[in-house]
Symmetry: C2
Subunit: 282 residues, 2 copies
Amino acid sequence: MSTSCLQTIRSNYARLSDKEKIIAKYIINHPQTIIHSTINEVAEKLNVADATVFRFCKRVGFKGYQAMKIALASEIMTPAQQILEEIKEDDNERIVAEKIFKSNIKTLEYTLQVLDEASLNKAVQLLLHASRIHFYGTGGSAVIAMDAYHKFIRTGIQSFAFIDSHFQLMSASQLTGKDVAVIISHSGTNKDTLNILNTANENGAHTIAITSYPKSYLSNHADVTLLTSSEETEYRSEALASRIGQLSLIDALYANVMMRNKKDSEQALNKIRTTISGTRME
Amino acid sequence: MSTSCLQTIRSNYARLSDKEKIIAKYIINHPQTIIHSTINEVAEKLNVADATVFRFCKRVGFKGYQAMKIALASEIMTPAQQILEEIKEDDNERIVAEKIFKSNIKTLEYTLQVLDEASLNKAVQLLLHASRIHFYGTGGSAVIAMDAYHKFIRTGIQSFAFIDSHFQLMSASQLTGKDVAVIISHSGTNKDTLNILNTANENGAHTIAITSYPKSYLSNHADVTLLTSSEETEYRSEALASRIGQLSLIDALYANVMMRNKKDSEQALNKIRTTISGTRME
DNA sequence: TCCTCTAGTGAAATATTTTTTCATAACTTA
DNA sequence: TAAGTTATGAAAAAATATTTCACTAGAGGA
């Protein structure tokens, strides 16, 4: 069972019998409940025989009800894990670290979940065919832009990132229709960032936005928008938490471009290696 | 059950009886197996009575064996998810992104796993009592140092990060016994970075290393070492993958310092907010 | 020392839950 | 319409989990 079991149920839905469809619907809508129910309880709730539920489990590929329950449990996070645990005053260092890491993991899971396939494809295509890529980010997002630069310089495509907002604006004014501007902004509302977006657009450059707000100006005016997502906690702002999603999104773009552009990339990588041999590369 | 169940078992270990300790060990070492075993099988394997296993489940806080199994299943990832999938030539964009995200998630899980409690505690203490914190990183790790700077500036403790290796060395030479140098280097062997470490040490500053190599010079000569971990894939170097672990480690340090230093931090945060109101903060 | 008392344990009894079997109904198709 | 097929539930059987009870060993007290 390599695919997820909810997925399996969904894809088998068409060839299920009527009663089985009822069961499938119930499981898909209440996987949490199933985990803590016996086969009787489920059967009774749905007014079908236990045997029918059991046969359903077999039909969708499990050894039995128990096996399905276990598979569901592995797939669905328990509410305890799903609820982002707040850091408490008396948490020790280890617990705080665990909560932060789990929150980061959750951010990644959620960002992956909201990742739109069409947007991703378009972004990868734009980057692959760009003659230059400029990464822009202000404040905390500047770090991500720098990281992106560090990655993409290995692809063989000319890449740039500027920290200073004046340099950013200057470089944006130099963009052309063959270039791509990747603009990273958690809120999508930072003035400097929007200035860059407008300048890039005016010059006919393609624009890719990485932001947490789908309704922001940035989202609405970029050619492609990639969304990150995160939750705010008392000791860490939403913006801080979203960083990890942005970073992974860049990773994903990079890996895609790298893979689809293998030959060119390898040349570039070798060139870099030769240049900085002497100091250890990282 | 807010904490994880393996964690609960571990923390209850001391007050378990002999037989129960055997059971606890088995579960901690083979959680995967438990998920697919009946209570008999476990009891037989360990040469104890079913009742003993059952009592164990209750003792550590579950309703019964079934409940424990479900909890374990929710906690443990299935093997399919655990195996790091290599990116293949014919993977589409979405699949590549999924693999990258999963690899990042795995990196976080593993980094958390190898996080040493004593080192973490010491690091937090050093940072809390530092009069200044300098973050150092070269190449890709420079980005992490910058990120750390952006975070820690909110704690009210004076923080710095330098990108240029000359500035780095200059600033390191200004460190005193009241200061902390956080040195980030994936390999722990970059020459510039080691120079900084030595300079910091000579000046009596406390040093915290964040690296993937526990046997590196950096590890061996820093006051505290925090380890990250990652796996290399064809389209992404180990160093690139470790970034996400470094970032989360910084997050964890930041959250800890922030929490334990709440009052001072709030003042600092307000000051920043006032200063940069006008442009949207992130 | 001897006698409680307690905690820990396993075997067996019981209860619960799952799985199988079988009979029947409903629906197809020739 | 008859034979075959599929879907279903009821009940039996099997598997599994939980409870009870009796025994043991060790701790503490008279």
